[in-house]
Symmetry: C2
Subunit: 87 residues, 2 copies
């Protein structure tokens, strides 16, 4: 079994009101020196079998089309476990 | 400057309707063999100065109190960049 993690974060130039609210709350709760907080999404995808090059490319394509909005978000794909198949 | 990443995911026994919807969509878009998808939150926290042991513990405490709901969510804290200070 392979596991892929896709992290989706707002682009740095896009205002992040959720992150800003968390930043304010962290300061109020006593954490000093917080300069920035960004909040994004994390997807953990479990796949049957191994992750060959073709499938890995398919995951990248779907991350861009389905999981992220490339106009305002950046995404990163991490292969946590290749399921025993090397590319 | 230090950077800490906090990942917050629903506990495995908690139903994740968002993840389920993504799983269905990935299958419809042609990705075969998806056994499970979980959707969670990712917080990127930038801190002034270095991250010593005390501050690191404070981040852990606040992750549990503010960022995650420990009744239904698990969280992990990754120190991406210690800001030059070793613990």
């Amino acid at each position: 079994m392979a596991r892929v993690v896709v992290d989706v974060m707002l682009k740095p130039e896009i205002l992040d009101p959720q992150g800003r609210a968390v930043k304010g709350a962290l300061a109020r709760l006593g954490l000093d020196g917080v300069t920035d907080v960004r909040q994004g999404k994390r997807f953990e995808i479990d796949l049957e079998g191994g992750l060959d090059l073709e499938r890995s490319e398919q995951v990248h394509k779907l991350a861009e089309e389905l999981l992220a909005n490339p106009v305002i978000e950046d995404y990163t794909v991490h292969i946590v476990d290749e399921g025993g198949v090397r590319e």
